[in-house]
Symmetry: C2
């Protein structure tokens, strides 16, 4: 299989249906894409001068250190490390490394720049080295499907969105057979190192791989990189996952436009559902950027044990108050994962799955008597279309498909019903028209913002340095992000130090805990301090399209700035 | 009622529920919004030096000149006019004009700049003049609801999206009573002129107003401005309607992102429905900007008398061919108005409306026998959800609501069914997962592109000049748009020259014909010459977010360039 740019692909796959990848043709790029190709990527100054690695104290774990120590006997306790300046180069420049890189999980803007950073580090500081890109995610490691990444191959992807340079996948390396396959690939390619670009699960996996290689005396070191638009992989040492900045800016552009439309038209309530199932960081960041009338944060709903009726009432209350002020329009943000945060919905779905699996669902509705009282009330509260969706659309295992529920449409319908009730009671005088939106795929693969472009490049460059220095089981860590790039810090954090254990099927499993929206944290507190004003006054902000030059082009998202203690 | 910036609103409304408008607060603007406020707006050089108006030959009409002459006895035949340079100022600078401006119909990026252009012309060349903004569209004229536009009032709206400076509306001035109300407002405010910013209908209306004022010897002159994101108000003299450029660029940004996502993920077909009901210009322009795998153009479907089955088969054919090449992903663009272009659907809907109004719809489905054979086949071909939608959701007159049909979801469902059939026949080997998108509101109110910002400003400035020169019944016309702004031409086109008549309820009604996608025109022909390649090879282009500085920031859309004979 030949790539359009003439680079041959090594392929050890036994499958005949190898996914064709035509590669990028910079010749059909838009002017903006082309201009991005050569956009300068300044590095933290520590990476531009001789440096050495300064290890910190022995590390522990985020929780249950004894269990983590048992799961990672070779890695537990190893220090995190920081690059510090040095009079002479501390690392040998005559080393020729063989390194693999893999993209794991959903797309996030900037992934290509991480790879560019690794490549450029190797070109510059370990000249003559080789970089392999595993194709289609971790499966590419297991099947030894890879492409050798060259300067020409990488060039069209610099500062571009997407993961299509080598594509990604959601497989995991988990079973003993799968670890064996990874070992075989490592040995076959004589890999000195492997960079795993992924989210919390993928970085946990990276650490398990590192531990396994170490245990088997295989030389391959493993370094992780923090990726996810959801923003839920972060800690003190790893202040941000890449892609979050760009995705939020793209969603906020659209939300700002819809707000202007709402204000101009004066007759629509726009219900905007935003990607991000596990945590509501994206929704919170978009709220801080745009000032919507109502924003639902899943973590708050869960903490306050709110019901779907509570959420509906809250939205309806704001709509009624706004109607009194003469505003029959507004914008409401909803996190994709909202209903996962509502305990009563989880309960209903569990009961439905049970009933659907074991009982006869009669047309007359007698089956509903098998629901517990609370679940039955909730079921009857749901709009008919949602009831039908719950009963009819099931996954291959026969389970209700929660992810398919269009929460924004469901809420519009429930708010509508509640408003009709209040109208009859004389408590609502306005007109309500709901418009639904889901912003998701549009943001995952946009051209990375200047911040994500630079951050990812530094992450990749740092990963190169960590491998060059013989490190394993660390996650590439770039910090001090509120300062100019020049002053960013660079290092590696022990992955085991981010871990806790969860009990699954009677066994302890290591996990990097998802970082949820902290209700005591600065971003949420800032939101809380302003949301009442946003609800009734129209403080809409339109961030506009991401700029690569000029005003705002180097701005950083509010969440990161607030978490870093800077003024957003 | 006081505006937040302290300007008092004149309000003659008798209604107690006047829509509150809090106005813009530049103090809560984003950095990009703020930077736009002072973005320089260069004028065509003809507007920066002394000019005079050079009238052309007497004009005729686009069709049925005799009928147009009867409908516009005072205006028919008047020449279009062009600004040409002059040694001295031909127009008196000591004239104090009173001018009103109104926004009519749906939002389009740039409307605020038209108003800014009128205002700046008056400030500069008829100092001491007054500009009134009628609030909420033509109803504001009839009810004499207006605000006096001052420098401070206008400032926060410069180069900003939306229509919220004075808001818009969809009312028309049609009946004798309504004309009377407009006359009263004109006389009360002693209006020298009125600028109507709107689409084809609104400009027809503007011409009727001009004719009426002239007939009644009222001094108010009326000038139109071409507005609509749909791009269907254009002609040789009026090369573009404003807003089209920005809206298409915003949609194309999103489409480009979704394309990158499709290529990276390798498993989704994205069906993207794009705003634009009457004509498919937006869809065509977005295709030229992004190179999707399939693009449906309503005008072609109509010209070839295609059925829904034809459209489905066409999409399915491409998906099958791509599966053979190993691509189980793609992007498909669909114009919002697709089903309006399919004769058989129109026929079915007419029959359904008839049956729903007069017959009993039995659960057993015997009522379907009342459908004609062809309509019945089509009805049964439709996915069940669409069948139900057609039967259940009706407008207040009991009619089927075609506009509510989510065409993209309907097509996904029909393509899915067809692919399952072909799979059983061994003619399709791939996996199909459809994702639906509707891009509409996001684009109507975005920050105007540099092109729309400058074009609108020139349109407004030109409208000021035409009124200053005593003209009426013209539409502001700025041309030579492929050249630098400096060289743009400025003039006014006789609205009657753009008109034809339609027979409605036994009477001739004047209409400016909607400009549909010309199947022989350069944009469509360019698309035709490339679409086969786009279908099977992946020639995706990601235009990226609109830039206000640097590369591509002053680019013009492909449609306009191709129509002007320039190379897109």
């Amino acid at each position: 299989m030949a790539f359009s740019n003439g680079v041959n692909v090594q392929n050890n796959s036994t499958s005949g249906s190898a996914k064709a990848n035509p590669g990028r043709l910079a010749s059909v790029y838009s002017e903006v894409q082309t201009s991005r190709l050569n956009h300068p990527l300044p590095l933290p100054s520590i990476l531009t001068k001789p440096f050495k690695l300064q290890d910190g104290p022995p590390s522990s774990a985020a929780g249950n250190p004894d269990e983590i120590a048992k799961l990672f006997p070779n890695l537990f306790g190893q220090p995190s490390t920081l690059l510090v300046s040095s009079e002479n180069r501390a690392l040998r420049s005559d080393q020729k490394l063989k390194i693999g890189v893999v993209l794991s999980g959903g797309q996030a803007p900037g992934g290509h720049n991480v790879i560019s950073g690794i490549f450029d580090y190797m070109q510059g500081l370990t000249s003559g080295s080789t970089l392999y890109g595993f194709k289609g995610g971790p499966a590419g490691i297991m099947k030894c499907k890879y492409v050798e990444l060259t300067s020409d191959f990488i060039y069209p992807y610099r500062n571009q969105g997407g993961f299509d340079m080598i594509c990604s996948g959601r497989d995991k390396i988990e079973t003993p057979e799968q670890f064996k396959q990874a070992e075989e690939t490592s040995l076959k390619l004589e890999l000195d190192g492997l960079v795993v670009i992924g989210g919390d699960d993928s970085n946990t996996n990276a650490c398990l791989l590192a531990e396994n290689f170490r245990a088997k005396n295989i030389k391959t070191q493993v370094i992780g990189c923090p990726k996810t638009i959801d923003g839920d992989l972060k800690s003190k040492e790893v202040p941000a996952s890449f892609g979050f900045d760009t995705a939020c800016k793209i969603y906020a552009e659209m939300i700002g436009n819809v707000m202007t439309d709402a204000r101009s038209t004066g007759k629509y309530y726009h219900f905007v559902r935003l990607m991000g199932r596990a945590a509501s960081h994206i929704t919170l960041e978009c709220a801080l950027q745009t000032h919507p009338n109502v924003t639902i944060i899943g973590e708050e709903v869960a903490a306050k044990k709110q019901t779907l009726k509570n959420v509906t009432d809250h939205i309806t209350d704001v709509i009624c108050k706004r109607a009194e002020l003469g505003y029959n329009y507004g914008v409401i943000l909803i996190p994709e994962g909202l209903i996962d945060f509502i305990p009563e919905v989880q309960q209903l779905i569990a009961e439905l799955n049970e009933i659907l699996a074991n009982d006869i669902v009669d047309e007359g509705g007698l089956w509903k008597q098998k629901l517990q009282h609370q679940s039955r009330l909730l079921f009857e509260f749901l709009p008919q279309a949602i009831q039908e969706q719950l009963m009819l659309e099931r996954d291959p295992h026969g389970n209700v498909q929660v992810a398919k529920i269009e929460t924004e449409k469901m809420l519009i319908s429930m708010v509508e019903t509640e408003l009709e009730k209040r109208k009859l009671e004389g408590k609502y005088v306005g007109q309500f028209k709901g418009q639904s939106h889901f912003f998701g795929y549009e943001g995952r693969c946009g051209l990375p913002s200047n911040f994500d472009s630079m951050y990812c490049y530094a992450l990749g460059y740092a990963a190169g340095a960590l491998l060059h220095a013989g490190k394993t089981g660390l996650i590439s860590s770039v910090g001090n992000l509120a300062a100019p790039v020049d002053e960013w810090t660079v290092g590696g954090t022990a992955l085991t130090s981010l871990m806790d254990v969860e009990r699954r099927k009677g066994k302890f499993k290591p996990v990097i805990k998802k970082a949820m929206v902290e209700l005591e944290g600065a971003p949420f507190q800032k939101f809380v301090s302003m949301r009442d004003e946003w609800a009734l006054k129209n403080r809409y902000i339109s961030p506009g399209p991401i700029q690569f030059y000029g005003p705002a082009s180097n701005d950083i998202n509010h969440t990161l700035l607030l978490e870093l203690g800077a003024q957003a």
